[in-house]
Structures are given as structure tokens and as C-alpha cells.
């Protein structure tokens, strides 16, 4: 604690509601849950004095002390495993991966221990595993991935990825209160994006896990996406509107379990589906959504389902390479125009 008091900057308690960025919304959510429930605690690398690599846990140490804000060795397996053990004791850990790329180091503990515990012997683990994901900020192959597809084929893990400050706060609170393991992915490009600053309610609220949202209503085609790509989709929709196309944007918010109803309702309305995600195309969540649409909305379709995703390479570092790798606004526009004309 002595090091904590040496800090020149003492982080204040976040406001309750008010205008907040995406990162501030998550911080508010965790802070409020720690105030509300003494079993909630934070565990991860550099989450204490330093406040986390992206300052999501800034100030928690001063407020809640070392007992509930635990800096760990560089051991993602130990972070996940210890979170599971503490959850068995009735605690509610919020574990941080410094970058979501490092979730691979905790993969065994997540997929074999956390995911199967309730199923095997009825011991549900109220755990949250969160961290910054996503590319587009020139961080190279090891600080840029989107990890959802690694876990979609593992029953027992819920996967959440918000795209607005309101949802980020409501979903992190819902994740902390959830009785099962939740992977909570935060696209790092959104953390301090001025565009996402918004007024949050002063009162306590949660956003239900498992429910998508209609980010923009439209009639002509559906762009189904999540995370930072929601912004790309909305930008595309705005441009296409000028061309007379009325695009609906579905923000999935939860990737597991998928809100099939929202997907099918939208596709049955527009009859055309464009699936947009930032992870590599092959084996990505787009394939799963396409299969759901093919199986359950085939007769409503007026065109093939189209995927727009990253190319099948690691995320490269140099800006022109990364730009080529990632799906761009132009790709979405081109795909949407072709789909509309089909």
C-alpha cells in the first residue's frame, strides 16, 4: 500500500452516471458492483497501483484495498484458475487479461475448468474474464486479436462484446451478477473514442446478456455485427441511405449464447444479410451466423449471405498492411451495394 500513497495522481471515484466514455463506463460498472457486493474483487496483471494497462481499474486499489484488488504474477493460467477457485468459495472475481491476446495462456483453465464446472458437478462459477481486444491501432500480431471464435465452440462460456458506453456499463454489471463464466471483450479502439461519449443514467441498470440490439432500423438489408465494427456498419448505413438504401444494423452485444431470434427477425424482414466481423474470415463467427440463417430463414432470403471479415492472416503491424488485413468501410459499402442489387 505504501507505493499506492506515493502516487501523485489519486484517481477519484467515478461519477454515478453522467457523460462517460466507453472505458469510464466499464470502470463505473466495476466500481459500483464492488460497492454493492463485497464478494466482487478484481484480479490481474498491473490492475492495482497502475490501474490496468488501459486504466479500467484505476483507483480501485485506493478505494477497496489490496484484499480486493490483486496484482498477480505474469500467469494467466493462475489468474483464471484462482478466479475459479475463489468463485467456488462464493466470491465474484473480475479477472483482467492485459490484452485479450493473452487469453490463449489461460485457454486450458477457461475451456476445461471454468466452462465445464457447472455441467460436471453443478458448481456454477460466477466469474468475469475481461480485457481489451481488437485491431486497428497498429499493435501487431500479439496485441490485436479478436478471440471470440476460439471460445464459440466451448459450451459453458458466455461471450459479451459491447459497442456503446451504455451497453458496456450495463453488460459488465450483468456479467458480474451472472452465475456463470462470462468472457467480456472490450474493443480497445472504443475505450476513449469521443464519438462514444454519452450520458449514462444515474440509477443502477443492467443490460441483459443474450440479447442483441437494433443499432439502426432499416428495411433493405441487415448488417449483423458487434463491437467496433458496429461503428463501421453505422457509417456504411449512413452513406448508403444517401443512395436510397435503408440498412438495418444489428449489434449482437452477446456472442454466446447468440440471440438467434434477433438475427432471424431482422433477416426475415430485410431478406438480405451481411455479416461483418473483425476476426479472420475462416472459422469466424460469421460462418455460424450464416448457418443459422441458412437453416432457419432460407425461405426468406433473396440473396446469398455475405461475409465481410479480416483476411486469413495474423494481424500485421505496419499501417498499410493492417488496413489491407482488416475489413474497411469501403468493403462493407461494396458488399452492401452488390447484395442490394442481387
Amino acid at each position: 500500500m505504501s507505493t499506492a500513497t506515493k502516487k501523485e495522481h489519486k484517481s477519484n471515484r467515478p461519477s454515478r452516471g453522467g457523460v462517460a466514455t466507453f472505458v469510464e463506463a466499464i470502470r463505473q460498472g466495476i466500481w459500483e458492483e464492488m460497492e454493492r457486493d463485497p464478494t466482487v474483487f478484481v484480479i490481474g496483471e498491473d490492475v492495482g497501483v497502475y490501474g490496468g494497462a488501459f486504466k479500467v481499474t484505476d483507483g480501485l486499489l485506493d478505494e477497496f484495498g489490496e484484499g480486493r484488488v490483486i496484482d498477480t504474477p505474469i500467469s494467466e493460467g493462475a489468474i483464471v484458475g484462482a478466479a475459479c477457485g475463489a468463485a467456488l468459495m462464493g466470491m465474484r472475481p473480475v479477472a483482467e487479461f492485459q490484452f485479450i491476446d493473452f487469453i490463449s495462456c489461460g485457454f486450458d483453465m477457461l475451456t476445461n475448468y471454468a466452462a465445464k464446472c457447472r455441467y460436471r458437478w453443478g458448481a456454477g462459477l460466477a466469474t468475469v474474464f475481461r480485457g481489451p481486444c481488437g485491431a486497428g491501432v497498429h499493435s501487431g500480431p500479439f496485441h490485436s486479436i479478436n478471440a471470440e471464435a476460439f471460445f464459440l465452440n466451448t459450451p459453458g462460456l458466455k461471450i459479451v462484446e459491447p459497442s456503446t458506453a451504455y451497453d458496456a456499463k450495463g453488460l459488465i454489471k450483468a456479467a458480474i451478477r451472472d452465475p456463470d463464466p462470462v468472457l467480456f471483450f472490450e474493443h480497445k479502439k472504443l475505450y476513449r473514442l469521443p464519438r462514444l461519449r454519452e450520458e449514462l443514467p444515474e440509477d443502477d441498470y443492467v443490460v441483459e446478456i443474450g440479447k442483441a440490439r437494433i443499432a439502426r432500423e432499416g428495411r433493405d438489408l441487415s448488417i449483423i455485427t458487434f463491437g467496433a465494427q458496429v461503428l463501421t456498419a453505422l457509417d456504411a448505413a449512413a452513406e448508403l441511405e444517401r443512395e436510397g438504401l435503408d440498412v438495418e444494423v444489428i449489434d449482437l452485444r452477446t456472442l454466446a449464447p447468440l440471440d438467434k431470434e434477433a438475427i432471424l427477425t431482422s433477416v426475415k424482414k430485410t431478406s438480405k444479410a451481411l455479416l461483418l466481423h473483425e476476426a479472420a474470415r475462416t472459422g469466424g463467427i460469421g460462418g455460424e451466423i450464416a448457418a443459422v440463417i441458412a437453416e432457419e430463414a432460407f425461405e426468406w432470403l433473396d440473396a446469398p449471405v455475405v461475409r465481410v471479415a479480416a483476411i486469413d492472416t495474423p494481424v500485421p503491424y505496419s499501417p498499410p498492411l493492417e488496413e489491407y488485413h482488416l475489413p474497411q468501410l469501403k468493403d462493407v459499402l461494396d458488399a452492401a451495394r452488390k447484395l442490394a442489387a442481387y
Binding site: 480486493r68 493462475a78 484458475g81 457447472r118 452465475p179
Partner: protein, 379 residues
């Protein structure tokens, strides 16, 4: 002279360093001897006679449950494999018997003895092995892969080493709740080679958490000898790398196992932090019933059969006048009655309803069960 030295050190709480008896050195692997020159157990103990007899009951229960499992396996009543702890029962039973009711254990597959000491009934084990609906996991998982939080028992998973971080978390959670308990994780000479073992123990050591590692040195991980797992001389040497105390105990001396764990638990409970105990023992059966043990050097099994922990303890109890042969037979008959009754119960259990497979991935009051989808909205 050599025997004298070893006897002396073994009797001081069983912390003596021992040579592997199986390496062909021809001696009796140390340990205290009775007047007839036969290997017995350490006489330095705080155990009462009644406790010593209870220990005996758990040893016999462990062995006889496993023998019964083998019978059931041969009758094809067991769905999966059967994993024996023959020859190493004293480690699991003796170490676990030293714990308090509030303490937690995470045993490995060969620690049935610890599970029974924690109060899990044989019927639960039989029903698990037979994949029955009345088993604690209701047919979802095998053997001792289940848990009972009310009894401080957290079953392992197949991925060795993973329970070390989990048990570190048990101790961490307990500390936040101001509960004074120790978390005991069992691991083998093979499991100690995993990254999870290292990460978990390192974190426990850094946090000074009351985690006790029982490193069961039984010389084989499936077919791989310890010499291909690690370059350290004794597994206890690894403790130094974590800045925690490491002890060595004769894993076939049930009393020594009890005493060393009791001291370690007091140390950990008192704020001393993590402890590693290496118990030197031997796995006399193969990895599972199907394993023909072709990898064993000749003579090794015979040598360790002579050092059988239960025979040894019987000799000890009789030579120390704790029990007569008749008394021991009485205990054995009582164990046999319990096992017969519990096998009957487990056999009477139905198999699980197939559709139950869809339930319990998540809390189903929130997320629906994963029932089979209907093709084209029909069947």
C-alpha cells in the same frame, strides 16, 4: 549402520530423505523396523489408538473399494477405466487425515483414500464409476471427478496441474472471507512438469496463501519414469524455486504422512504460507487396468510389494499393541459390509435419462438447456 541412521531420521516426524528402494540397492529403503526386523511405521506420533484404528479402516476401505471396482470392471459394469492406488494408499489417507473439517482438498485420480477420509461415501464412487444417475455428477463425469463443497472436496480434472491454481483460488477466496482454512492439492511426479503447477504454486507462494502441495512421487506417469520428467534429485527440491519449505516423507508410512502434513498445516494456517511435501511411494499397478506395465524393470514390483503400506501398518499396529489380528479382521469385515451395501445401492441406480445431457451447461433458469434442434422446425 546405514539402517540405523535412516531409522533415526525417519522417526523424526518422517522427514528423512530416502533413497529410492527400487533402484536395486537391495536394502529395505530405510524406515523403522520391529523386533523381528520387519518394516513398520514411525512411533513418534500424536495419534490416539482410536485414531490409528480409524486410519487403518480408511486404508482398508480404499484398497477394498478399488478391488471391488476392478471386479465390477471385469464384469463390464464400469463404463470407463479403473485407476488404482495400490501400494500408495498411505500417502492419500495419512496426509488427508491430518486436516481439519473446514480444510479443502483436491486429490488426483490415485487419491481415493483422501476422498474417503473427507467423508465421501463408497456408494458415490461406485455410482460415478458405473455412470449412474445417482452418482454425484449424475453421469456427466467419471470416477472422482466431482466435488462436495460441504465436505471440502474438490474433484480434479484430467488436465494435470490445473487444480493447483484452483486450490490457490480456494485459499485466496477463503482469506477474503476471513476463513482460516488450508487448501491441499495433490500432484504427481508427472503433473509437476506442467505450466499450471508452476503458475499456481508460484502465485500461492507470492501471496503467502495456506496451500499445501502433496507431491506424490510414485515413479511413473503412465509409462514415463521420473528421470524423464525432471532433473532434480528430489521433487522437494523444487520448493526452493518458490521460496517455500519442502519436506520429504516416506509415503508408505501412514503415520509419518499424517505427522508431516499436520505440521505443514499448522505452519500454513499460522500464516507461514505455502508448503510442499514430497511423499516417496510407488505405483504398483499400471496407469489404468488396461496397462500391462511392460516398461517396468524386473524385480521392481516384488520389491515394493514387500513394502506394502497396509501390511506394514498392520505389523505396526500389532507390534505396538494398538490392535490384535482379530480386531483388524473385525474392521475389515465391517468395511466389507459397507462396500457390499454400497455396491448394491449403486447397482440399483438407473442410468441417466438421455435428455438430461442437455441441462446444466449454464444456470437453466437464465439460459435454456441445449436440447437437440428440430430439423425444419419438425422432428
Amino acid at each position: 549402520m546405514k539402517k540405523e541412521t535412516q531409522r533415526k531420521s525417519a522417526s523424526s516426524a518422517g522427514l528423512a530423505k530416502k533413497r529410492r528402494g527400487a533402484d536395486g540397492d537391495g536394502n529395505n529403503n530405510g524406515g523403522p523396523l520391529n523386533v523381528a526386523g520387519e518394516l513398520v511405521c514411525t512411533t513418534e506420533t500424536t495419534l490416539t489408538d482410536a485414531q490409528m484404528l480409524e486410519l487403518y479402516r480408511y486404508l482398508k476401505l480404499t484398497r477394498m473399494v478399488e478391488e471391488r471396482l476392478v471386479n465390477l470392471y471385469r464384469q463390464t459394469k464400469i463404463v470407463g477405466g479403473v485407476f488404482r492406488s495400490l501400494g500408495q494408499e498411505a500417502t492419500a489417507v495419512g496426509t488427508c487425515y491430518a486436516l481439519e473439517p473446514q480444510d479443502f482438498i483436491s486429490p488426483l485420480i490415485r487419491d481415493l483414500g483422501a476422498v474417503l477420509v473427507k467423508g465421501i461415501r463408497p456408494r458415490e464412487i461406485f455410482a460415478q464409476y458405473m455412470a449412474k444417475a445417482w452418482g454425484p455428477s449424475e453421469g456427466r463425469d467419471l470416477n472422482i471427478h466431482f466435488g462436495d463443497m460441504s465436505k471440502g472436496f474438490i474433484g480434479p480434472i484430467s488436465h494435470l496441474g490445473d487444480m493447483i491454481p484452483v486450490m490457490t483460488g480456494i485459499a485466496l477466496g477463503a482469506r477474503m472471507q476471513h476463513k482460516n482454512l488450508v487448501a491441499v492439492a495433490y500432484i504427481g511426479d508427472g503433473g509437476m512438469s506442467t505450466g499450471a503447477f508452476h503458475e499456481g504454486l508460484n502465485f500461492a507462494a507470492v501471496q503467502r496463501l495456506p496451500v499445501i502441495i502433496i507431491a506424490e512421487h510414485n515413479w511413473y506417469a503412465y509409462s514415463t519414469p521420473t528421470s524423464k520428467q525432471t532433473a532434480v534429485k528430489d521433487l522437494a527440491d523444487k520448493a526452493a524455486g518458490y521460496g517455500i519449505p519442502g519436506h520429504i516423507v516416506d509415503g508408505n508410512d501412514v503415520i509419518a504422512c499424517y505427522e508431516v502434513t499436520k505440521k505443514a498445516a499448522e505452519f500454513a494456517r499460522g500464516g507461514g504460507g505455502a508448503v510442499l511435501i514430497e511423499a516417496k511411494t510407488y505405483r504398483r499397478k499400471g496407469h489404468a487396468e488396461h496397462d500391462d506395465q511392460r516398461y517396468l524393470p524386473s524385480g521392481e514390483l516384488d520389491e515394493w510389494e514387500r513394502k506394502d503400506p497396509i501390511d506394514r501398518y498392520e505389523r505396526h499396529l500389532i507390534s505396538q499393541n494398538v490392535a490384535t489380528r482379530e480386531k483388524l479382521n473385525e474392521i475389515m469385515a465391517d468395511v466389507q459390509r459397507e462396500i457390499d451395501e454400497d455396491v448394491e445401492w449403486a447397482e440399483s441406480s438407473p442410468m441417466p435419462e438421455p435428455e438430461k445431457a442437455a441441462y446444466g451447461v449454464f444456470d437453466n433458469s437464465i439460459a435454456p438447456p441445449a436440447l437437440r434442434p428440430k430439423i425444419f422446425g419438425g422432428n
